[in-house]
Amino acid sequence: MIGRLDTVDMMVNMGPQHPSTHGVFRMVLTVDGERIVAAEPVIGYLHRGVEKLCENLTYRQIVPLFDRMDYLADYNNELGLALALEKLMGIQPPRRAEFIRVILCELTRITSHMMFYGSFGSDAGVTTPFIYAFRQREEVQQVLESVSGVRMMPNYIRVGGLREDVPADFSERLSKLLPKLRQGIEECDDLLTRNEIMLARSAGLAAISGKEAIAYGLSGPNLRASGVAEDIRRTQPYSIYPELEFDVPLGQNGDIWDRYCIRLEEMRQSVKIVEQCLEKMPDGPTMAEMPKALRPPPGEVYVCAENPRGDFGVYLVSQGGDKPYRLKVRAPSFCNLMVLERLLKGCYVADCVLVLGSLDIVLGEVDR
Protein backbone atom coordinates (compact mmCIF):
# COMPACT_ATOMS: atom_id res chain seq x y z
CA MET A 1 0.00 0.00 0.00
CA ILE A 2 2.68 2.45 1.06
CA GLY A 3 4.63 1.75 -2.10
CA ARG A 4 1.89 3.29 -4.15
CA LEU A 5 1.75 6.58 -2.28
CA ASP A 6 3.41 9.55 -3.92
CA THR A 7 6.17 11.16 -1.91
CA VAL A 8 7.56 14.65 -2.26
CA ASP A 9 10.92 16.03 -1.21
CA MET A 10 10.59 18.52 1.58
CA MET A 11 12.57 21.67 2.18
CA VAL A 12 13.82 22.24 5.71
CA ASN A 13 15.56 25.36 6.96
CA MET A 14 18.31 24.61 9.41
CA GLY A 15 19.32 27.86 11.09
CA PRO A 16 20.24 30.68 10.93
CA GLN A 17 19.21 31.01 14.57
CA HIS A 18 20.18 27.58 15.77
CA PRO A 19 22.81 26.94 18.45
CA SER A 20 24.37 24.03 16.63
CA THR A 21 25.27 26.05 13.55
CA HIS A 22 28.22 27.58 15.47
CA GLY A 23 27.09 31.10 14.77
CA VAL A 24 24.61 32.49 12.33
CA PHE A 25 24.53 30.10 9.44
CA ARG A 26 21.70 28.58 7.45
CA MET A 27 21.46 25.33 5.58
CA VAL A 28 18.58 24.82 3.21
CA LEU A 29 18.09 21.08 3.23
CA THR A 30 16.00 19.16 0.75
CA VAL A 31 15.04 15.94 2.46
CA ASP A 32 13.48 12.73 1.27
CA GLY A 33 12.24 11.25 4.51
CA GLU A 34 15.30 11.12 6.75
CA ARG A 35 17.83 11.40 3.91
CA ILE A 36 19.32 14.65 2.74
CA VAL A 37 18.98 14.92 -1.03
CA ALA A 38 20.54 18.36 -1.39
CA ALA A 39 21.92 20.97 0.93
CA GLU A 40 22.60 24.60 0.24
CA PRO A 41 24.65 26.59 2.71
CA VAL A 42 23.60 30.23 3.06
CA ILE A 43 26.12 32.59 4.60
CA GLY A 44 26.55 36.31 5.03
CA TYR A 45 24.59 36.90 8.22
CA LEU A 46 27.76 38.12 9.93
CA HIS A 47 29.18 40.07 6.99
CA ARG A 48 30.70 43.30 8.27
CA GLY A 49 32.67 44.26 5.20
CA VAL A 50 36.03 43.87 6.90
CA GLU A 51 37.94 44.05 3.61
CA LYS A 52 36.31 47.36 2.70
CA LEU A 53 36.90 48.74 6.19
CA CYS A 54 40.58 47.76 5.99
CA GLU A 55 41.04 49.90 2.89
CA ASN A 56 40.17 52.93 4.99
CA LEU A 57 42.22 52.22 8.08
CA THR A 58 45.93 52.56 8.70
CA TYR A 59 47.88 49.33 9.01
CA ARG A 60 48.08 49.46 12.78
CA GLN A 61 44.32 50.03 13.04
CA ILE A 62 43.67 46.86 11.05
CA VAL A 63 45.06 44.47 13.66
CA PRO A 64 41.92 44.56 15.87
CA LEU A 65 39.73 43.80 12.86
CA PHE A 66 41.79 40.69 12.20
CA ASP A 67 41.09 39.57 15.78
CA ARG A 68 37.42 39.70 15.00
CA MET A 69 37.49 37.40 12.02
CA ASP A 70 38.41 34.03 13.47
CA TYR A 71 37.83 34.99 17.08
CA LEU A 72 38.95 31.57 18.31
CA ALA A 73 42.34 32.00 16.68
CA ASP A 74 42.98 35.69 17.26
CA TYR A 75 46.76 35.47 17.75
CA ASN A 76 47.12 33.42 14.56
CA ASN A 77 45.20 36.00 12.54
CA GLU A 78 47.35 38.81 13.88
CA LEU A 79 50.44 36.85 12.95
CA GLY A 80 49.14 36.44 9.39
CA LEU A 81 48.81 40.20 8.97
CA ALA A 82 52.17 40.86 10.60
CA LEU A 83 53.87 38.33 8.30
CA ALA A 84 52.40 40.00 5.23
CA LEU A 85 53.58 43.48 6.17
CA GLU A 86 56.96 42.29 7.40
CA LYS A 87 57.58 40.48 4.12
CA LEU A 88 56.53 43.48 2.05
CA MET A 89 58.60 45.93 4.10
CA GLY A 90 61.57 43.62 4.70
CA ILE A 91 61.38 43.76 8.46
CA GLN A 92 62.88 41.05 10.62
CA PRO A 93 61.27 40.83 14.07
CA PRO A 94 63.61 40.07 17.00
CA ARG A 95 64.16 36.42 17.83
CA ARG A 96 62.51 36.58 21.21
CA ALA A 97 59.39 37.99 19.61
CA GLU A 98 59.33 35.11 17.11
CA PHE A 99 59.42 32.55 19.93
CA ILE A 100 56.68 34.27 21.90
CA ARG A 101 54.56 34.52 18.77
CA VAL A 102 54.86 30.79 18.13
CA ILE A 103 54.08 29.95 21.77
CA LEU A 104 50.97 32.12 21.70
CA CYS A 105 49.83 30.75 18.35
CA GLU A 106 50.25 27.15 19.47
CA LEU A 107 48.44 27.81 22.75
CA THR A 108 45.64 29.35 20.73
CA ARG A 109 45.62 26.25 18.54
CA ILE A 110 45.09 24.19 21.68
CA THR A 111 42.25 26.38 22.98
CA SER A 112 40.68 26.38 19.53
CA HIS A 113 40.87 22.60 19.19
CA MET A 114 39.55 22.25 22.75
CA MET A 115 36.60 24.35 21.70
CA PHE A 116 36.14 21.99 18.75
CA TYR A 117 36.34 18.97 21.02
CA GLY A 118 33.74 20.34 23.40
CA SER A 119 31.26 21.48 20.80
CA PHE A 120 31.80 18.30 18.80
CA GLY A 121 30.67 16.33 21.83
CA SER A 122 27.60 18.52 22.14
CA ASP A 123 26.88 18.11 18.44
CA ALA A 124 27.00 14.35 18.91
CA GLY A 125 24.67 14.58 21.88
CA VAL A 126 26.95 14.30 24.90
CA THR A 127 27.62 17.21 27.22
CA THR A 128 30.48 15.86 29.33
CA PRO A 129 33.24 16.54 26.75
CA PHE A 130 32.27 20.19 26.82
CA ILE A 131 32.98 20.35 30.55
CA TYR A 132 36.26 18.46 30.19
CA ALA A 133 37.38 20.69 27.35
CA PHE A 134 36.52 23.92 29.08
CA ARG A 135 38.28 22.93 32.27
CA GLN A 136 41.48 22.58 30.22
CA ARG A 137 40.79 25.52 28.02
CA GLU A 138 40.30 27.83 30.96
CA GLU A 139 43.80 27.21 32.30
CA VAL A 140 45.39 28.00 28.95
CA GLN A 141 43.14 30.98 28.62
CA GLN A 142 44.39 32.36 31.92
CA VAL A 143 47.98 32.23 30.73
CA LEU A 144 46.99 33.98 27.49
CA GLU A 145 45.11 36.54 29.56
CA SER A 146 48.19 37.22 31.69
CA VAL A 147 50.09 38.06 28.49
CA SER A 148 47.73 40.41 26.72
CA GLY A 149 45.34 41.40 29.52
CA VAL A 150 42.24 40.18 27.71
CA ARG A 151 40.64 36.86 26.94
CA MET A 152 39.70 37.60 23.36
CA MET A 153 40.81 40.09 20.69
CA PRO A 154 44.26 40.65 22.23
CA ASN A 155 45.72 43.14 19.70
CA TYR A 156 49.13 41.90 20.86
CA ILE A 157 51.16 40.86 17.83
CA ARG A 158 52.36 43.97 16.04
CA VAL A 159 54.17 44.50 12.79
CA GLY A 160 57.84 44.11 13.72
CA GLY A 161 57.30 42.26 16.97
CA LEU A 162 54.99 42.36 19.94
CA ARG A 163 53.13 45.05 21.85
CA GLU A 164 55.23 44.33 24.96
CA ASP A 165 57.25 41.56 26.51
CA VAL A 166 55.50 38.74 28.33
CA PRO A 167 55.16 39.03 32.14
CA ALA A 168 58.12 37.88 34.25
CA ASP A 169 56.40 34.74 35.52
CA PHE A 170 55.29 33.64 32.04
CA SER A 171 57.78 30.77 31.62
CA GLU A 172 57.13 29.54 35.13
CA ARG A 173 53.35 29.52 34.71
CA LEU A 174 53.66 27.83 31.37
CA SER A 175 56.00 25.08 32.62
CA LYS A 176 53.50 24.32 35.37
CA LEU A 177 50.62 24.32 32.90
CA LEU A 178 52.05 22.04 30.23
CA PRO A 179 52.18 18.72 32.17
CA LYS A 180 48.62 19.33 33.34
CA LEU A 181 47.56 20.12 29.82
CA ARG A 182 49.16 16.96 28.51
CA GLN A 183 47.24 14.94 31.05
CA GLY A 184 44.04 16.82 30.23
CA ILE A 185 44.35 15.99 26.54
CA GLU A 186 44.72 12.30 27.41
CA GLU A 187 41.61 12.49 29.60
CA CYS A 188 39.66 13.99 26.72
CA ASP A 189 40.98 11.24 24.46
CA ASP A 190 39.94 8.53 26.91
CA LEU A 191 36.50 10.00 27.32
CA LEU A 192 35.34 10.20 23.74
CA THR A 193 37.66 8.84 21.05
CA ARG A 194 36.94 5.12 21.17
CA ASN A 195 33.48 5.37 22.62
CA GLU A 196 31.30 2.89 20.78
CA ILE A 197 28.47 5.29 20.09
CA MET A 198 30.92 7.95 18.99
CA LEU A 199 32.48 5.51 16.52
CA ALA A 200 29.10 4.44 15.22
CA ARG A 201 28.13 8.07 14.68
CA SER A 202 31.33 9.25 13.03
CA ALA A 203 33.46 6.50 11.48
CA GLY A 204 32.98 6.19 7.74
CA LEU A 205 30.54 9.08 7.66
CA ALA A 206 30.81 12.10 5.35
CA ALA A 207 34.14 10.90 3.99
CA ILE A 208 36.09 12.75 1.32
CA SER A 209 39.10 11.50 -0.62
CA GLY A 210 42.40 13.35 -0.63
CA LYS A 211 42.11 14.22 -4.30
CA GLU A 212 38.64 15.66 -3.90
CA ALA A 213 39.64 17.52 -0.74
CA ILE A 214 42.43 19.24 -2.68
CA ALA A 215 40.08 20.18 -5.52
CA TYR A 216 37.64 21.69 -3.04
CA GLY A 217 40.42 23.73 -1.49
CA LEU A 218 40.14 22.19 1.95
CA SER A 219 42.99 22.99 4.29
CA GLY A 220 44.22 22.37 7.80
CA PRO A 221 43.00 19.38 9.80
CA ASN A 222 40.15 18.79 7.33
CA LEU A 223 42.62 18.26 4.48
CA ARG A 224 45.07 16.22 6.52
CA ALA A 225 42.25 13.94 7.70
CA SER A 226 42.05 12.83 4.06
CA GLY A 227 45.71 11.85 4.13
CA VAL A 228 47.19 14.89 2.36
CA ALA A 229 50.44 15.94 4.04
CA GLU A 230 49.98 19.70 3.75
CA ASP A 231 50.86 21.72 6.79
CA ILE A 232 52.06 25.21 5.99
CA ARG A 233 54.30 25.16 9.03
CA ARG A 234 56.21 22.44 7.17
CA THR A 235 55.60 22.96 3.44
CA GLN A 236 56.01 26.75 3.34
CA PRO A 237 57.59 27.40 6.72
CA TYR A 238 57.43 30.80 8.37
CA SER A 239 58.72 32.28 11.61
CA ILE A 240 60.83 29.76 13.59
CA TYR A 241 58.90 26.61 12.67
CA PRO A 242 61.83 25.09 10.70
CA GLU A 243 63.79 24.92 13.98
CA LEU A 244 61.09 23.03 15.82
CA GLU A 245 60.36 19.33 15.93
CA PHE A 246 56.80 18.17 15.57
CA ASP A 247 54.80 15.60 13.63
CA VAL A 248 52.03 16.34 11.18
CA PRO A 249 49.28 13.82 11.96
CA LEU A 250 47.49 12.37 8.93
CA GLY A 251 44.19 10.56 8.59
CA GLN A 252 43.30 7.80 6.16
CA ASN A 253 39.63 7.91 5.38
CA GLY A 254 38.79 11.59 5.57
CA ASP A 255 35.66 10.85 7.57
CA ILE A 256 34.29 12.61 10.63
CA TRP A 257 36.26 10.42 13.01
CA ASP A 258 39.54 11.18 11.23
CA ARG A 259 38.86 14.90 11.33
CA TYR A 260 38.27 14.59 15.06
CA CYS A 261 41.37 12.47 15.74
CA ILE A 262 43.67 14.81 13.80
CA ARG A 263 42.71 17.72 16.03
CA LEU A 264 43.29 15.72 19.17
CA GLU A 265 46.76 14.71 17.99
CA GLU A 266 47.52 18.27 16.91
CA MET A 267 46.96 19.42 20.47
CA ARG A 268 49.65 17.00 21.66
CA GLN A 269 52.01 18.29 18.97
CA SER A 270 51.30 21.88 19.98
CA VAL A 271 52.24 21.11 23.58
CA LYS A 272 55.48 19.65 22.24
CA ILE A 273 56.16 22.81 20.24
CA VAL A 274 55.50 25.08 23.21
CA GLU A 275 57.87 23.01 25.36
CA GLN A 276 60.66 23.38 22.81
CA CYS A 277 60.05 27.10 22.48
CA LEU A 278 60.22 27.57 26.25
CA GLU A 279 63.54 25.78 26.33
CA LYS A 280 65.07 27.73 23.44
CA MET A 281 63.52 31.17 24.01
CA PRO A 282 66.29 33.80 24.16
CA ASP A 283 66.27 37.08 26.06
CA GLY A 284 66.27 40.33 24.22
CA PRO A 285 64.03 42.95 22.67
CA THR A 286 60.53 42.09 21.44
CA MET A 287 60.14 44.87 18.90
CA ALA A 288 62.22 45.74 15.87
CA GLU A 289 63.15 49.33 15.10
CA MET A 290 60.08 50.62 13.35
CA PRO A 291 59.20 53.83 11.54
CA LYS A 292 56.47 55.96 13.13
CA ALA A 293 54.05 55.44 10.26
CA LEU A 294 53.84 52.15 8.43
CA ARG A 295 54.18 52.89 4.74
CA PRO A 296 55.08 49.74 2.85
CA PRO A 297 56.52 50.28 -0.62
CA PRO A 298 54.17 49.91 -3.61
CA GLY A 299 53.79 46.26 -4.41
CA GLU A 300 51.91 43.24 -3.32
CA VAL A 301 52.37 40.17 -1.22
CA TYR A 302 50.55 36.95 -0.51
CA VAL A 303 51.45 35.12 2.67
CA CYS A 304 49.86 32.14 4.30
CA ALA A 305 50.01 30.71 7.78
CA GLU A 306 48.72 27.52 9.36
CA ASN A 307 45.79 28.56 11.52
CA PRO A 308 43.92 26.06 13.70
CA ARG A 309 41.34 25.90 10.95
CA GLY A 310 43.75 25.75 8.04
CA ASP A 311 45.46 27.88 5.43
CA PHE A 312 45.02 31.52 6.40
CA GLY A 313 46.07 33.66 3.45
CA VAL A 314 46.54 37.41 3.32
CA TYR A 315 46.74 39.11 -0.07
CA LEU A 316 47.89 42.67 0.40
CA VAL A 317 48.19 45.23 -2.38
CA SER A 318 49.97 48.42 -1.43
CA GLN A 319 50.26 51.60 -3.43
CA GLY A 320 52.69 53.13 -1.00
CA GLY A 321 50.21 54.80 1.33
CA ASP A 322 49.61 54.22 5.00
CA LYS A 323 46.48 52.24 4.19
CA PRO A 324 46.20 49.07 2.12
CA TYR A 325 44.89 49.50 -1.41
CA ARG A 326 43.33 46.07 -1.28
CA LEU A 327 43.39 43.46 1.43
CA LYS A 328 41.87 40.09 0.69
CA VAL A 329 41.74 37.43 3.33
CA ARG A 330 41.61 33.81 2.37
CA ALA A 331 39.78 32.55 5.41
CA PRO A 332 40.20 28.80 5.99
CA SER A 333 36.64 28.35 7.30
CA PHE A 334 35.25 30.06 4.21
CA CYS A 335 37.00 27.56 1.94
CA ASN A 336 36.32 24.56 4.17
CA LEU A 337 32.61 25.30 4.34
CA MET A 338 32.22 25.03 0.58
CA VAL A 339 32.57 21.27 0.79
CA LEU A 340 29.55 20.94 3.10
CA GLU A 341 27.14 20.73 0.19
CA ARG A 342 29.01 17.72 -1.14
CA LEU A 343 29.43 16.05 2.27
CA LEU A 344 25.80 16.31 3.32
CA LYS A 345 24.39 14.67 0.20
CA GLY A 346 23.04 11.27 1.23
CA CYS A 347 23.50 11.81 4.98
CA TYR A 348 20.72 11.44 7.52
CA VAL A 349 19.18 14.66 8.79
CA ALA A 350 20.24 13.66 12.30
CA ASP A 351 23.90 13.69 11.22
CA CYS A 352 23.99 17.07 9.53
CA VAL A 353 24.92 18.88 12.74
CA LEU A 354 27.79 16.46 13.31
CA VAL A 355 29.05 16.84 9.74
CA LEU A 356 29.03 20.62 10.10
CA GLY A 357 30.71 20.36 13.49
CA SER A 358 33.46 18.15 12.10
CA LEU A 359 34.50 20.92 9.69
CA ASP A 360 35.09 23.25 12.66
CA ILE A 361 34.07 26.58 11.19
CA VAL A 362 33.99 30.05 12.69
CA LEU A 363 31.37 32.20 11.03
CA GLY A 364 33.22 35.38 11.91
CA GLU A 365 35.80 34.58 9.25
CA VAL A 366 33.42 32.91 6.81
CA ASP A 367 31.43 36.11 6.44
CA ARG A 368 34.15 38.62 7.31
Binding site: I43, G217, G299, Y302, G313
Partner: protein
Protein backbone atom coordinates in the same frame (compact mmCIF):
# COMPACT_ATOMS: atom_id res chain seq x y z
CA UNK B 1 60.88 35.81 7.34
CA UNK B 2 60.17 34.45 3.87
CA UNK B 3 62.65 34.98 1.10
CA UNK B 4 62.16 38.24 -0.77
CA UNK B 5 63.99 37.09 -3.89
CA UNK B 6 63.05 34.33 -6.31
CA UNK B 7 65.04 31.15 -5.61
CA UNK B 8 66.34 28.52 -8.03
CA UNK B 9 63.07 26.63 -7.77
CA UNK B 10 61.07 29.65 -8.90
CA UNK B 11 63.42 30.32 -11.81
CA UNK B 12 63.16 26.71 -12.96
CA UNK B 13 59.39 26.87 -12.63
CA UNK B 14 59.29 30.07 -14.69
CA UNK B 15 60.97 28.24 -17.57
CA UNK B 16 58.54 25.33 -17.39
CA UNK B 17 55.56 27.70 -17.28
CA UNK B 18 56.81 29.63 -20.31
CA UNK B 19 57.28 26.39 -22.25
CA UNK B 20 53.99 24.72 -21.29
CA UNK B 21 51.80 27.79 -21.59
CA UNK B 22 53.61 29.22 -24.64
CA UNK B 23 50.43 29.12 -26.74
CA UNK B 24 48.80 31.67 -24.44
CA UNK B 25 51.72 34.16 -24.60
CA UNK B 26 52.01 34.63 -20.86
CA UNK B 27 54.04 37.59 -19.64
CA UNK B 28 55.95 36.35 -16.67
CA UNK B 29 57.68 38.25 -13.93
CA UNK B 30 58.28 38.03 -10.22
CA UNK B 31 56.93 39.90 -7.25
CA UNK B 32 59.14 39.32 -4.22
CA UNK B 33 59.70 35.54 -4.36
CA UNK B 34 56.58 34.65 -6.33
CA UNK B 35 56.23 33.85 -10.00
CA UNK B 36 53.52 35.98 -11.59
CA UNK B 37 52.14 35.57 -15.11
CA UNK B 38 49.68 37.79 -16.91
CA UNK B 39 47.08 36.36 -19.26
CA UNK B 40 44.28 37.72 -21.41
CA UNK B 41 40.69 37.12 -20.25
CA UNK B 42 40.11 34.90 -23.29
CA UNK B 43 43.03 32.61 -22.44
CA UNK B 44 42.39 32.17 -18.75
CA UNK B 45 40.22 29.08 -18.78
CA UNK B 46 42.26 26.96 -21.19
CA UNK B 47 45.51 28.14 -19.60
CA UNK B 48 44.26 27.24 -16.13
CA UNK B 49 43.16 23.85 -17.37
CA UNK B 50 46.60 23.21 -18.82
CA UNK B 51 48.28 24.47 -15.65
CA UNK B 52 46.18 22.05 -13.64
CA UNK B 53 46.56 19.00 -15.90
CA UNK B 54 50.17 19.30 -17.07
CA UNK B 55 52.19 16.84 -14.97
CA UNK B 56 55.13 19.24 -14.62
CA UNK B 57 52.96 22.10 -13.35
CA UNK B 58 50.11 20.16 -11.65
CA UNK B 59 48.50 23.19 -10.04
CA UNK B 60 45.76 21.18 -8.39
CA UNK B 61 44.99 23.62 -5.57
CA UNK B 62 43.43 27.05 -5.98
CA UNK B 63 44.35 28.89 -2.82
CA UNK B 64 42.76 32.20 -3.44
CA UNK B 65 40.87 34.12 -6.09
CA UNK B 66 40.78 37.87 -5.62
CA UNK B 67 39.69 40.89 -7.58
CA UNK B 68 41.49 44.22 -7.36
CA UNK B 69 39.85 47.45 -8.54
CA UNK B 70 42.61 49.39 -10.28
CA UNK B 71 40.44 52.37 -11.14
CA UNK B 72 39.70 51.95 -14.82
CA UNK B 73 40.17 48.20 -14.92
CA UNK B 74 39.45 45.26 -12.71
CA UNK B 75 42.14 42.67 -12.17
CA UNK B 76 41.37 39.07 -11.32
CA UNK B 77 44.16 37.33 -9.41
CA UNK B 78 44.51 33.57 -8.99
CA UNK B 79 46.89 32.14 -6.42
CA UNK B 80 47.72 28.59 -7.42
CA UNK B 81 49.57 25.88 -5.58
CA UNK B 82 50.66 22.38 -6.46
CA UNK B 83 50.39 19.80 -3.72
CA UNK B 84 52.50 17.41 -5.79
CA UNK B 85 55.47 19.69 -6.50
CA UNK B 86 54.84 22.20 -3.71
CA UNK B 87 55.36 25.17 -5.98
CA UNK B 88 53.17 28.21 -6.41
CA UNK B 89 52.23 30.68 -9.07
CA UNK B 90 50.10 33.77 -9.43
CA UNK B 91 47.97 34.39 -12.52
CA UNK B 92 46.78 37.91 -13.19
CA UNK B 93 44.10 38.81 -15.66
CA UNK B 94 43.29 42.44 -16.35
CA UNK B 95 39.78 42.95 -17.68
CA UNK B 96 39.49 45.62 -20.40
CA UNK B 97 37.95 48.91 -19.16
CA UNK B 98 34.20 48.55 -18.72
CA UNK B 99 34.37 44.78 -19.10
CA UNK B 100 32.96 42.78 -16.20
CA UNK B 101 32.95 39.26 -17.63
CA UNK B 102 35.43 36.43 -17.39
CA UNK B 103 35.30 32.63 -17.65
CA UNK B 104 34.64 30.74 -14.46
CA UNK B 105 37.26 28.31 -13.17
CA UNK B 106 34.80 26.54 -10.86
CA UNK B 107 34.50 23.61 -13.32
CA UNK B 108 38.28 23.15 -12.89
CA UNK B 109 38.55 23.72 -9.14
CA UNK B 110 35.27 23.32 -7.25
CA UNK B 111 36.95 25.35 -4.51
CA UNK B 112 36.65 28.46 -6.70
CA UNK B 113 32.87 28.44 -6.27
CA UNK B 114 32.40 30.84 -3.35
CA UNK B 115 35.41 32.97 -4.28
CA UNK B 116 33.73 33.70 -7.60
CA UNK B 117 30.34 34.26 -6.04
CA UNK B 118 31.92 36.65 -3.57
CA UNK B 119 33.61 38.56 -6.39
CA UNK B 120 30.30 38.65 -8.28
CA UNK B 121 28.63 40.01 -5.18
CA UNK B 122 31.21 42.57 -4.09
CA UNK B 123 32.74 43.61 -7.44
CA UNK B 124 30.04 42.79 -9.97
CA UNK B 125 32.26 40.51 -12.05
CA UNK B 126 30.26 37.87 -13.93
CA UNK B 127 31.95 34.49 -14.12
CA UNK B 128 30.64 32.78 -17.23
CA UNK B 129 30.12 29.06 -16.86
CA UNK B 130 29.72 29.18 -13.10
CA UNK B 131 27.07 26.60 -12.15
CA UNK B 132 25.21 28.76 -9.62
CA UNK B 133 26.26 32.38 -9.83
CA UNK B 134 24.28 34.40 -7.30
CA UNK B 135 25.10 36.78 -4.44
CA UNK B 136 26.91 35.15 -1.54
CA UNK B 137 27.45 37.58 1.31
CA UNK B 138 24.98 40.40 0.66
CA UNK B 139 21.26 39.99 0.46
CA UNK B 140 19.56 39.67 -2.91
CA UNK B 141 18.75 43.06 -4.29
CA UNK B 142 21.58 44.87 -2.50
CA UNK B 143 22.34 47.97 -4.54
CA UNK B 144 25.87 48.30 -5.92
CA UNK B 145 29.11 46.46 -5.38
CA UNK B 146 30.75 47.58 -2.12
CA UNK B 147 34.36 46.65 -2.84
CA UNK B 148 34.57 48.83 -5.94
CA UNK B 149 36.58 51.98 -5.27
CA UNK B 150 33.61 54.05 -6.47
CA UNK B 151 31.50 52.77 -3.57
CA UNK B 152 31.84 54.96 -0.46
CA UNK B 153 32.58 53.48 2.96
CA UNK B 154 29.50 55.15 4.39
CA UNK B 155 26.75 57.45 3.30
CA UNK B 156 25.24 55.81 0.23
CA UNK B 157 22.34 54.22 1.99
CA UNK B 158 21.04 53.76 5.50
CA UNK B 159 21.11 50.09 6.42
CA UNK B 160 18.09 49.14 8.53
CA UNK B 161 19.22 47.96 11.94
Amino acid sequence: MDAREPGDKQRALAQVVERVLAAFHPQSGTILDELVISLTPQAVKSACQLARDDPELAFDYLRCLSVVDLGNTLQVVYHLYSTRHRHKMVIKVALPPGERRISSVTPLWPGADWHEREAYDLFGVTFEGHPKLKPLLLWEGFPGHPLLKSYPVSGLEEVPG
